[in-house]
């Protein structure tokens, strides 16, 4: 963390950020808007008005950290970062009561060893369930990572014959390790088939997003350092994740909260620089002149791709196909799957998950998800695809929200790709 962020001073109250904010769109009340939150933060920092901590906390905790407001703000007001900072401050004031999910979070962090043996099943789910009546999907089976490091050798036959070996690490994140282990398996398989050797260290854990977004900066930093160390000794140029929220946490937030004199600063930064989301990584492969393998589905089908709020395209990305125009870098993989037709979504609304937001504000979250399903309904697809653990949760949890879509399958795009390569 460099100097304290005072970008709230840049806000000119133009209102441009209102309609893009999922919580404003639902509430139509500025107290739940980016402009309102920034205004509260300004006042709180200038100490001109005494504000009720619980009320400010309500405005802050209802933010999904989706980043839509930051993307549209013409004045570089870093709303998400400001809100995280405010949460950290409130946490101290409220003696940790702010993080309602504190118990669940503790389990995620301390039982790392157990977590690796699908601890979410054992430790966290019951706790999260107690916190809320929220549905948590049953794990698909055994956790992906168990007792040791894994190495997967590149499939050199299928992948354009002789060329330098590309080595990548795989960062699963907790959900794709424990709840949807198949997604991890599909990611690794897709990489291997494209001639990439993959290393999966056992000691990796949660990316830390649930912690920092609850204002628990010290746990967040512990986890970041642990992840950096897990990959440190390896001679790899890239670390790939198939979860958009993990990449947001590692790429955006790690550099923001580590100071030069923090223990492990350079390891963490190095880790952060090497980590890419899976779609950007395929673009890197393409740029290296590698032909991304094409696959084919046995049965033709169509789908919408829900773009996760935290899916970051590489800065120099320019769409070069119809599918990329619709959904960004992930479009490259859709191009490679014969038999999959992508249908556009009109607004690309947020899914309403927002990590801990979904647990704390279940009803608000559900309303946002409903809006999402309205637009999905209009597109009338056979499948819903995405590439973020949080989005997978919300979309599969709530797909019954509209009668018409009760049984619609929700999948990670990488799984469809892996399937097309098999067939």
């Amino acid at each position: 963390m460099e100097d304290k962020d005072i970008s709230y001073l840049n806000c000119v109250h133009c209102g441009k950020c209102l309609p893009v904010c999922p919580t404003y769109r639902i509430s139509l009340n500025e107290f739940y808007s980016p402009r309102g939150r920034v205004r509260l933060i300004l006042t709180d920092n200038n100490d001109v008005l005494p504000l009720k901590v619980s009320k400010v906390a309500e405005a802050m905790s209802t933010c999904l950290l989706c980043g839509r407001c930051v993307n549209i703000c013409p004045n570089d007001v870093k709303i998400g970062d400001l809100i995280i900072n405010e949460r950290i401050k409130l946490n101290e004031l409220q003696d940790n009561k702010f993080s309602l999910g504190a118990i669940a979070l503790k389990a995620l962090k301390n039982k790392r060893k157990i977590l690796l043996k699908s601890a979410l099943k054992i430790a966290n789910i019951p706790i999260i369930n107690q916190l809320n009546r929220r549905f948590v999907p049953n794990p698909q089976g055994k956790a992906f990572i168990s007792a040791r490091n894994y190495r997967f050798k590149a499939d050199r036959n299928g992948a354009g014959g002789k060329r330098e070996e590309i080595r990548a690490g795989y960062f699963s994140g907790c959900v794709f390790n424990s709840i949807y282990p198949q997604i991890s398996a599909d990611t690794v398989a897709s990489l291997v088939k494209n001639g990439v050797s993959v290393f999966v260290p056992q000691m990796q854990g949660c990316c830390g997003l649930p912690f920092i977004s609850s204002g628990d900066i010290s746990s967040f930093k512990d986890l970041a350092l642990n992840n950096a160390n897990a990959f440190k000794a390896q001679d790899i140029d890239y670390i790939v994740t198939s979860c958009a929220s993990c990449s947001y946490s590692v790429n955006k937030l790690y550099p923001l909260y580590f100071n030069k004199n923090d223990e492990g600063y350079s390891e963490v930064l190095n880790f952060s620089k090497k980590l890419l989301n899976i779609w950007s990584f395929f673009k890197v492969l393409e740029k290296k002149g590698i032909d991304i393998k094409a696959g084919e589905l046995q049965k033709e089908t169509d789908a919408v791709f829900h773009i996760p709020c935290h899916l970051l395209n590489s800065p120099e990305f320019k769409p070069s196909s119809y599918n990329e125009g619709l959904i960004g870098e992930a479009g490259l993989i859709v191009d490679k799957i014969a038999g999959l037709k992508l249908k556009p979504l009109k607004h690309n609304y947020c899914c309403g998950n927002g990590g801990m937001f979904n647990i704390r504000h279940y009803d608000l979250s559900k309303e946002i998800t409903r809006l999402k399903f309205e637009e999905i309904k209009e597109a009338f697809p056979q499948n819903i695809l995405t590439s973020c653990s949080g989005c997978m949760f919300s979309l599969s949890d709530q797909r019954g929200i509209l009668k018409e879509q009760q049984g619609i399958p929700v999948n990670h795009l990488i799984s469809i790709y892996a399937q097309s390569l098999k067939e």
Binding site: V12, H13, L18, N29, F31, R39, L40, N75
Partner: protein
């Protein structure tokens, strides 16, 4: 504030449509000006009867009542200058009826302009008024401020589209003005009186708007000149054409600078000191012909840069940059005095060089951009809040500019309204007799002066 009034509101609307905690009120204390006033309570009505009852309660408790859309106004229109009740129309955001035969659409006031535009576009129709804030401002706010944007040069502004209104007066009565007939001269034209009334005569609950068919195609041209005289003459030539542009926006050097990062894509590189964004629309054939004709004319005036956009992506980048100017000026100073004067087109050059002189005399940066086609210039005086002397110089510069505008036969506000920001300048243009007429009109609609008091005069 009177706890009893809050209680009555809660009974009327339910607790969740009444805000009264300080933290919530703070989020309703501003608009896009840099002024702030705290309301005492914020209420969210859902229909005209509720609005009527809200106004009646305000009369009972003798409390001011101020309408608010998205709070994106540039003249303080939605600020509760004297405290009281803010009526937020954001939850009245439904499109009520579309009459495709007569080409009218009836909406609630909280509908966002962009949502109406895309609703109509899907059906092949077109609602032209396009303030740069169209993606977030409400139709109610647009009507109250008579907002307009780039398309005004060909299609006019909000007032040209409002056909009928339902509104609640300062007595709490519901009245209907206007009709869907194109010809309607039964009595005074109260509809047009309401358009641009800045929320001081009544609160709109239903708005009936005219719409057009969607033009089949459009195309953009970017052109810039080193010599302002050349640029001016080129623009005038385009306006004389039978197929005049559907947009003719200009940017001076500093506004170009402020949004340059938007143009950083290799699509467009800007040179020159004075830039125009020009649009042609119509059938595909017409657009092709117009673009060729515009280019031919522009080339006669030795432009330093001429670019015709082909792709949707290029068009989007250009329009994003245009919309970003106003909010991104902040890098020139943290306090903006924003004047949106309008002068007859043949006075634009004179006005701009006068402004340049004023900027030097008072040593304050002044950034100009706007709608050349209708003479509407956004004159932004950029100041540092903490530099008291500079703020004083800025105020003086503003005064000189508005005085000159009045002398040139122009208007003190092309689109943002008078509100709080310019009320002391009304006397530059109007004498007491005239001002009295305005005040008496206000009295007829709002005898107790509770609707948005303290604005305009």
């Amino acid at each position: 504030m009177n706890q009893k009034l809050i209680k009555e509101f809660e009974e009327l609307l339910g607790k969740n449509r009444v805000l009264s905690e300080a933290e919530e009120l703070l989020c309703y204390s501003y608009d896009a000006t840099s002024k702030e006033f705290m309301p005492d309570v914020v209420v969210f009505p859902l229909n005209s009867n509720e609005i009527s009852n809200i106004v009646k309660l305000c009369l009972k408790y003798n409390t001011p009542v101020v309408g608010r859309g998205s709070g994106s106004g540039f003249s303080g229109g939605s600020l509760p200058l004297k405290g009281g009740v803010v009526v937020s129309f954001t939850k009245m955001n439904h499109i009520l009826e579309i009459d495709e035969e007569n080409m009218f659409v009836t909406v609630e006031p909280g509908v966002i302009n962009a949502d109406l535009k895309s609703y109509l576009a899907e059906k092949g129709y077109f609602y032209p008024p396009d303030p740069a804030s169209y993606e977030f401002s409400t139709i109610g706010g647009n009507v109250a401020e008579c907002s307009g944007g780039p398309s005004a040069v060909k299609y006019g502004v909000t007032k040209d589209y409002v056909a009928a209104l339902e509104l609640i007066t300062g007595d709490g009565e519901i009245i209907n003005t206007g009709s869907k007939s194109v010809k309607d001269v039964s009595g005074y034209n109260l509809t047009q009186l309401m358009v641009g009334s800045e929320g001081t005569l009544g609160l709109f609950s239903k708005i009936t708007l005219k719409f057009l068919s969607n033009p089949e195609a459009n195309s953009l041209i970017l052109v810039s000149f080193d010599d302002i005289g050349n640029g001016f003459n080129a623009a005038i030539s385009l306006l004389k054409l039978r197929n005049r542009p559907s947009m003719l926006e200009f940017m001076d050097k500093s506004s170009i600078e402020s949004v340059k990062s938007y143009f950083k894509s290799d699509i467009i590189k800007i040179e020159g000191a004075f830039l125009f964004i020009i649009e042609a629309d119509g059938s595909r054939l017409e657009v092709g012909e117009s673009v060729a004709e515009y280019e031919k004319i522009l080339k006669e005036f030795s432009p330093v840069f001429l670019f015709s956009s082909g792709s949707e992506e290029e068009k989007r980048v250009i329009m994003e940059a245009r919309k970003a100017i106003s909010p991104s000026l902040r890098k020139y100073g943290d306090l903006k005095i924003n004047n949106d004067i309008a002068v007859p087109i043949n006075k634009i050059i004179e006005m701009l060089s006068f402004i340049e002189g004023i900027s030097k005399t008072y040593n304050v940066p002044i950034i100009n951009f706007g709608h050349f086609g209708d003479g509407n210039i956004h004159v932004n005086i950029m100041l540092n809040k903490d530099d008291a002397d500079m703020v004083k110089r800025g105020e003086k510069a503003k005064f000189e500019i508005l005085k000159k505008t009045a002398e040139a036969g122009g208007s003190l506000s092309g689109e943002h309204g008078i509100g709080l920001e310019k009320k002391e300048f009304m006397k530059l243009k109007y004498n007491d007799y005239y001002m009295n007429i305005l005040k008496n009109i206000k009295k007829v609609f709002d005898p107790r002066n509770i609707i948005n008091p303290g604005k305009i005069f």
